[in-house]
């Protein structure tokens, strides 16, 4: 793979409590993400996923450890305002609640918000807005009011606003969790498209196992540490570890697991519905063939 785009070294973070106590949330996380990767981050509620995302976005500063984005140490004290601005341009974030990310009252003006902040000339902004809306498939809504759109549509507008800034990496913090299945599918397809067609590095934080299965790599965080890091096939072949980390196992993996327990000799990847179906089909043809 290419050189690391994001390097996280021994990162720790603790929130300040009221009485001056510190609540440790992240305890020495090390993680490298290369350009163009599609990484899913899993972890139970309160495991520190959002905290990690906020650290990557310089909304929080770590108590110890280092984060290097594209060769620049974003945790250094000497980081100037301008350097921060440049970094924010590279790594942007899509949040959970689409309502609280949209600034403007007309879709295209909201999408333009980011590029406007970056100071592009208006023709360039126009181009980017149109392109971004096309990418998320919302061109015909350019002149609509965001509050009249559905949740999934709003989230796609939020994503368009981010794409228009042409970032190198997008972090999605549970961006599909407030959406219905069809809205979720739209957003997921958009994520995949951004990664595969535009080569944007995608980091998606999620509670949905099938969403994680869509990624190239899955990182499981538990109690502020990295528990597992590998391909979906590797991660979902260890259902017990996942359950111990307070996570679900994808339905298809669970089925295969149950079948194995019943003595059916199934062997192979089974983290997506297709793979699972294939596995069972193969088995059945083999049995009949015998």
């Amino acid at each position: 793979m290419e050189k690391n785009f994001i390097e996280i070294e021994n990162l720790s973070y603790a929130y300040d409590e009221d009485e001056g106590d510190k609540v440790p949330v992240l305890n020495g996380i090390s993680l490298n993400i290369s350009k163009g990767e599609y990484v899913a981050v899993l972890g139970h509620n309160g495991s520190g996923k959002s905290t990690l995302a906020k650290l990557l976005n310089m909304i929080l500063t770590p108590t110890s450890g280092k984060i290097i984005v594209d060769g620049v140490d974003i945790t250094s004290d000497e980081l100037t305002e301008d350097a921060m601005f440049e970094l924010r341009k590279k790594v942007v974030m899509v949040f959970q609640n689409p309502d609280n990310q949209l600034v403007a009252t007309i879709v295209e003006e909201d999408v333009a918000f980011g590029p406007e902040n970056l100071g592009y000339p208006s023709e360039e902004i126009r181009k980017r807005v149109d392109e971004a809306l096309r990418t998320v498939g919302m061109s015909e809504y350019a002149h609509h009011e965001p509050h009249r759109l559905s949740g999934g549509q709003k989230q796609r507008i939020a994503i368009a606003g981010i794409i228009a800034m042409s970032p190198e990496c997008i972090i999605f913090d549970e961006s599909t969790s407030m959406l219905d299945p069809s809205g979720r599918k739209d957003v997921l397809n958009t994520m995949e498209k951004l990664n595969k067609e535009k080569g944007i590095t995608v980091v998606t934080i999620t509670h949905y196992m099938n969403e994680a299965a869509q990624a190239d790599r899955v990182v499981v965080i538990d109690d502020g540490r990295i528990l597992m890091d590998g391909t979906p096939a590797e991660i979902f072949s260890k259902p017990d570890v996942l359950r111990n980390a307070g996570l679900d196992v994808p339905q298809c993996s669970a089925i295969v697991e149950e079948l194995k327990k019943l003595g059916v000799p199934l062997d192979g990847d089974c983290y997506s519905t297709e793979l699972c179906a294939e596995l069972i089909c193969n088995y059945l043809t083999n049995v009949q063939g015998l």
Binding site: I59, E81, M93, F95, Q101, I106, F113, I125, H147
Partner: protein, 277 residues
């Protein structure tokens, strides 16, 4: 709750829609001045016609406009009655113990007309035909010179945009909270005023909490989108005055001048002087 149309953009293709927002701010101010300059019946007749003309040109359905007047009807009625009973002068008119004066009728009618023209003028120029962001842009650029004396024009403009953006969201939320409290047996329609006011607390508290949480999230989201104040910011829509802007401003100034001229000729209360009542 859902049908408050004040402050809502009405998309249509009209020349007013296409005017520069700065022009529209200026026109709105001029129109307000016009409605206050009006004194004579001729002036008010002109005002009524100008109102109709503006509505027609803006292509906004009368229904939509009437809806924006609805919320202030009570105030207008109250004002009309005050004028009717308190203003004395002109011909006396006694109807069953109550005495009113022709001048009272005149001021009642004209004050209502004034309020209507205020609402319609500002409504059409500033809200129906102008998207809030356009308006904010307009105000920001029109009053941009105030930045030199340290007035945070951009910040005010941004605040306004966000407020406008979140009004529908918060209204929806209020609806939801009301339903939720009703489902728990809250009663907002019966009881004394004190009791009803108290019933509002369980609505306001969650609403405020959620508004603050939203504000917090929005601030983070804006920062992530590289927002750092007005400096170095460009615009998707760059404002440029065009011929139509100059023409419309000229027409309004001429109209204002006309109204002032009418006042100078002093044709006040023509009907009363002629004993028309």
């Amino acid at each position: 709750m859902k049908n408050i149309s004040f402050g809502q953009y009405y998309p249509a293709e009209s020349i007013i829609h296409r005017l520069d927002p700065r022009t529209k701010v200026i026109l709105a101010i001029l129109y307000i001045v016009c409605s206050f300059v009006c004194q004579s019946a001729i002036g008010f007749t002109a005002l009524i016609f100008s109102m109709l003309a503006i509505i027609l040109i803006s292509k906004i359905p009368i229904k939509t406009i009437l809806r924006s007047i609805k919320p202030v009807i009570i105030i207008m009625v109250f004002m009309a009655f005050l004028n009717l009973f308190l203003v004395k002068g002109g011909v006396e008119l006694t109807v069953w113990k109550i005495t009113i004066y022709s001048k009272g009728i005149y001021t009642a009618v004209t004050s209502v007309l004034r309020v209507i023209s205020l609402i319609i003028g500002t409504g059409i120029f500033l809200t129906y035909t102008t998207t809030p962001i356009e308006l904010t842009d307009g105000i920001e650029q029109l009053f941009g010179f105030l930045k030199k004396i340290k007035i945070p024009v951009h910040e005010f403009a941004m605040m306004m945009t966000i407020a406008l953006r979140f009004i529908p969201t918060l209204m929806e939320e209020t609806d939801k909270i009301i339903s939720a409290q009703k489902a728990r047996g809250a009663d907002f329609t019966n009881g004394s005023i004190v009791k009803r006011a108290k019933a509002l607390i369980p609505i306001l508290v969650p609403l405020f909490i959620s508004a603050f949480r939203r504000a917090d999230e929005l601030a983070i989201a804006m920062e992530c989108r590289c927002y750092r104040g007005g400096e170095g910011r460009t615009k998707l829509h760059v404002l440029r005055y065009r011929t139509r802007d100059f023409i419309s401003m000229f027409i309004f100034i001429a109209f204002l001048a006309g109204l002032i001229l009418i006042n100078c000729f002093g044709v006040e209360y023509p009907f009363i002087e002629n004993g028309w009542f």
